[in-house]
Symmetry: C2
Subunit: 349 residues, 2 copies
């Protein structure tokens, strides 16, 4: 083999945005959301096996850039992701991401993929995976407050995983609501566009908040939250960015992904450091109680955790062979003789 040609180990499967879109359509978005929820649940069930660390954030005036690594001892993953609320005004995505899987035993990458779409999918799948356990029995209606890039994914995941058949939309920008309503038409959901948060929450058993402003906002106030509701709070996900009035937190039982991260980034950054929370993985394993009764208010204070990305990457990797929806990227210099990196370079002249 000519050493100026990349070896097999040097070629890393890469899933572009185009191939990710093809993968979603090939599998079917609801099937994919449901399968992702199962992959995430499977990894939450072996939570203790993972290396866990709060994400490594680089904050600036305009937003945040984060690295989210984790490992189960055999596979390592990380995601690069930004959050720039003001991007939208420039016609850019608030959140873009890419991710990588590598073998722990060699450190060699085995998958590189776009993760903007995949993050939208895994975030929705995680919300639904949690709501499947915490929402009141027979929940059929979800209020979706904040109708940005995440809204339709949430609605379809809650349909596919929890049996929601009615979505009540609200956004401070009616154009966002119109966009979400248009996209959700013909998807098997009753869609109601509302003119206030209050109106959106009427009759809803699940309330999802997903707004993007980097500020301490009050999207939900205490009077909107009736007994028995499950709140899926997604948008309060970095320091100085919350959506719920703290009175709601006083009435609710709060479930989180990884407490050291959520106490910095989640809704509970408003509360004292000893505000009680339940780690959701313990609900799955039976070590902690989930929903107790039909009047309890449950809150999933979701900030997004590295293990969910790990699961999503693992899922995409599991589909590569059967679909062929990837390219091979020449990104690892891998000379025949590993000590002869210089020789490889020289022979390429």
């Amino acid at each position: 083999m000519s050493s100026s040609l990349p070896s097999e180990k040097a070629l890393v499967p890469f899933v572009s945005v185009e191939n990710m879109m093809r993968l979603v359509h090939h599998i079917g978005i609801e099937t994919m959301l449901a399968e992702l929820a199962d992959f995430i649940e499977a990894d939450f069930l072996r939570w203790e096996r993972f290396d866990k660390t709060p994400r490594v954030a680089s904050h600036s005036r305009e937003g945040v850039i984060e690295l989210m690594p984790t490992s189960d001892g055999e596979i390592y993953s990380f995601k690069y992701v930004n959050g720039h609320p003001k991007n939208m005004a420039q016609g850019l995505q608030t959140v873009t991401a890419l991710g990588l899987l590598a073998e722990v035993s060699t450190g060699y990458p085995v998958l590189l993929t776009e993760m903007t779409l995949l993050t939208a999918l895994r975030t929705a799948a995680t919300s639904a995976m949690v709501a499947r356990r915490l929402a009141p029995k027979g929940a059929r209606t979800m209020a979706m407050i904040g109708n940005g890039a995440q809204a339709e994914f949430q609605a379809l995941a809650m349909k596919a995983v929890c049996g929601i058949d009615h979505v009540r939309l609200f956004d401070i920008d009616p154009l966002a609501t119109a966009k979400a309503a248009r996209n959700l038409a013909g998807k098997g959901l009753t869609v109601t566009s509302c003119t206030s948060s209050q109106a959106a929450t009427e009759g809803a058993q699940i309330i999802t908040t997903c707004t993007a402003d980097k500020q301490l906002a009050t999207i939900l106030t205490d009077n909107m939250i009736g007994a028995g509701v499950h709140i899926n709070a997604i948008g309060g996900d970095c320091p100085g960015k919350t959506e719920l009035h703290r009175d709601i937190l006083k009435r609710a039982d709060t479930f989180v992904e990884y407490p050291p991260q959520t106490r910095i980034e989640g809704e509970i950054q408003q509360m004292d450091p000893d505000y009680p929370v339940t780690e959701f993985w313990q609900v799955l394993t039976g070590q902690a109680e989930g929903r107790r009764d039909n009047s309890q208010i449950t809150l999933f204070d979701s900030v997004g955790f590295a293990i969910e990305d790990f699961s999503a990457l693992r899922y995409v990797r599991s589909k590569l062979d059967a679909t062929g929806l990837y390219q091979e990227l020449d990104i690892i210099a891998d000379p025949d003789d590993p000590r002869d990196l210089f020789g490889m370079l020289q022979r390429a002249k």
Copy 2:
């Protein structure tokens, strides 16, 4: 524009291994090493402007996987890099890497590149940039102990930047020495292959150690180190991995990149936490003294720091337009309406 086609912002310039090799040959390796040294020096001179954090390491029995982020407030960078000493026995690289640059203001990536080769180049350029200040005046001979993948890059960087014209090689594996000697033939250096570390250090004003075992080793003992020598210690770069006998550290004045990282990873992990070190950037700015006299032993306890990768990525980016040596990678989902990620997906069906 069809929204199923990627927009300009969605396409990230990607430098493959093949294009990186072409870039090196296009510029010329010695010119590139010298230019890299200048880029790194320029960033060390504005050290205080950077976000600095010890790298985020995931250790396993076989090795380590690390993320190395930094930012100067305008540009953000990170490198993914592994270190697996046992890879070599399987015919794999000990160190592989990839890197990314992004705009801080939007979080959008602007460069993705292979960094196995680029790390070899920047490591050598950093060593030479430091030796240019710390090596004794008129240094012409370098001992190169450890003749693995980094050896030839070190030799050529020391030639291009510091005027070294004689390299004395030693490795416990004579095949590694033979490989390095072969690769360095005809490069304008006198190359002497030696049969012991002791022999290699004879007459050398610069001693570079770059061995790969993950253990507390003693590659250099005190008796090998004469007055006035500059030691460039590269291989002691993670917890439990050192190369120098501690008696050498007692006699030497030690210069480091970023103390919080070096105290964990460098040769000085052997010493007390208050062992005195000089931050090398302060030598460049004039805030600290470099070499005092011709009898002083100077030690650069190099572990590799994120700012060096930042500089290398910045350098590669500066060459893209003129050379065209990149591909465009469809890795950022970027719909026309940023809130309409789902619509972009739907229209791609």
